[in-house]
Symmetry: C2
């Protein structure tokens, strides 16, 4: 009855396969390697409670009233200072826009840059939320293979030469879904090529703080050229429930465009949560908190790798992430991850088959495994069950 009412934009939007899986696996008996959920023991519950009480007492009505589209000034000041201190950048609060999670940043980017048929450059495999957000605006998605040290730079340069691209989208650290990280050399090449071809470089870094050892990698471009757009989020280090992310946009025109698109999208992000988040970040030893999460995830990652090494046949290969939340496994060529998924569901263990992360749905024999939301024992048991099915 209403089919004729639906827009081209809506028809072009795929529903998220992952969120569909998550709905069917809510039972507590299921071992889930499918989501990308932080470990709930990492949420700073008491500290957030204190911060809520404090900001209501100190700032009263401001915490409840309509606010600026770009976001709470104090929170933007904190973010700018933090980036400048830890990454040696020179960002000002005016160059930051607070977003309703990083997902909103992806949607705004799609809106502001993509006309139907425009070329954009993506990693392959790519982050599913970005594929979904950008697909709405019907670009020509040009997929560049992600090698163990980053995009295939020769293919990238060919693609940039061949036809003008609106932007390159990358998750350079512990990528979702592959767990892979760019090498220093490829970071430099990516930065250079973006400038050379005057192509906007979008660096999405949700996992950067979750590097298991040593100092986090910085943003590739450090916002050092006008076409640089950086995305960050508090979803993995504080809480995803508050949907708080940010964009750093150096170029004023681009920033105004994104700001107006955000105004039309939700006026501004939840300012009650922005106050609480800012208070939390400035009243607690956040670095210590993040170190604890890193240590937790390092152990969980190691547990999964150990289990895979001892249980999986040698025909299965997999990545060994330096941080973040995901391991990417490649099954023997004749094996179809979707079929394994159906069998695994019967055994109460789930993961995400790799196809949805490919723009053309190829790579039927790959799978994404999340290790952050189960304890070590559960991880070992889940991998054991999967191994049995793979060997069958």
């Amino acid at each position: 009855m209403f089919e004729e009412k639906i827009s081209e934009l809506s028809l072009a939007t795929p529903a998220s396969f992952i969120r569909a899986i998550l709905k069917t696996t809510e039972s507590s008996e299921v071992i889930s390697f499918a989501g990308g959920l932080p470990n709930p023991i990492s949420f700073p519950k008491e500290e957030i409670k204190e911060s809520t009480n404090r900001v209501i007492d100190e700032y009263g009505s401001k915490v409840f009233q309509y606010s600026l589209t770009a976001g709470l000034r104090e929170l933007r000041e904190y973010i700018a200072e933090h980036l400048n201190e830890t990454q040696g950048m020179d960002v000002t609060p005016d160059e930051i826009i607070v977003t309703t999670g990083s997902q909103q940043a992806l949607d705004l980017i799609g809106k502001v840059f993509i006309n139907p048929g425009d070329r954009i450059i993506m990693e392959e495999p790519a982050y599913l939320g970005a594929i979904q957000a950008f697909s709405q605006y019907r670009p020509e998605m040009c997929a560049i293979t992600l090698e163990s040290d980053g995009m295939d730079m020769e293919k990238l340069e060919e693609a940039l030469k061949e036809s003008k691209a609106k932007f390159i989208y990358t998750v350079p650290n512990f990528q979702n879904p592959s767990g892979l990280t760019y090498s220093g050399e490829k970071r430099e090449t990516l930065h250079r090529l973006s400038r050379q071809y005057n192509c906007i470089l979008i660096e999405d870094d949700p996992y950067g703080d979750l590097k298991f050892d040593g100092n986090p990698y910085g943003y590739i471009s450090k916002g050092e050229f006008e076409g640089s757009i950086l995305l960050g989020t508090f979803s993995k280090t504080v809480t995803p429930g508050m949907r708080s992310g940010f964009m750093v946009i150096r170029n004023e025109e681009l920033r105004l465009r994104i700001n107006t698109a955000k105004e039309a999208a939700d006026l501004h992000s939840n300012v009650f949560s922005q106050y609480i988040l800012w208070d939390y970040l400035t009243h607690n030893d956040v670095q210590q908190h993040i170190l604890k999460i890193r240590e937790l995830y390092r152990k969980q990652s190691n547990a999964m790798i150990r289990a895979m090494e001892s249980e999986f046949p040698e025909t299965v290969s997999f990545t060994r992430p330096e941080g973040g939340m995901f391991i990417w496994a490649t099954l023997p060529e004749n094996m179809i991850a979707f079929e394994l998924f159906e069998k695994a569901r019967q055994e109460n263990v789930v993961f995400v088959p790799g196809n949805p992360f490919y723009i053309d749905g190829r790579a039927a024999n790959t799978m994404r495994l999340n290790y952050t939301n189960c304890d070590e024992e559960t991880i070992t048991e889940g991998i054991r069950r999967l191994a049995k099915l793979i060997k069958m």
Copy 2:
């Protein structure tokens, strides 16, 4: 340098004139009739603090974790029950999608229904946030004059006959910007015409609860036909800072489309705030709270009307709202509200000139006046200053 990068969609998006005004009038010396801000004394600060502490204690990590795109089940249950009790509807929680404020609902509607050139039907004058959100998707906006008792129904039927429209958008109660309310007769006609022409009817009702006397008006269609979409919000009765609104969509296909668009837009709305809001709504006498806001705004509205009656020349006419937040004034025909605005700003009093609410920018001699964010004395002083300038 980046002009060529900007999409048609972004180029079609006007920045909000109102938000631009608000930025320039933040000084406390300015008497502002320009915004649409709730009176800050109406925010339930202590109750929200209690609710925050309670939900963190009782629900722990759930309050902080990723959640469902459609919104917190408990909050959707509350909304469904409330609508069914107060409006005699038969809505289920599954028919509700929680949105990041009503503004997000408008953006999602534009996304899911409008192809460039599609006809949509709007009131004239119309809500600016809707003009902005829909404009992005480049519809043919067909403006139907808003008379004192609702849209001109003859013109509406002509427009529906002339060419298929995707939807009709209306704010039937104490409309923004006009303060006008639909009569019972026009409500029935609007409902009948929507069904007859199989046109989606979007009823946006942010102010319904703020009726000064007697019971609130219900939704026109009560969601009684498949093409009915209802919008509601907690921004005017609890807090706008949490950006919490909702949509009621009866048709399953339309609901799935909106849900997928929301998934791509921000995954889900802030669940921390949804828990707090739900707890607040179920642990307090909200009806009593709303009655207090109504009484406050009734007095403030009366103060503005009294001041206008005694200070403005008879050549100025204005609406007398039954509720909500706005009065709409029409200046003598040769007077230009933008010029008055510039002079008024010098005298530290601001309002919104009427043009931006007209799709073609006509009606240069109209203005929108908000009375909810000043006390009675300030309202009287502001109107006095305006009157002087009008008489000059």
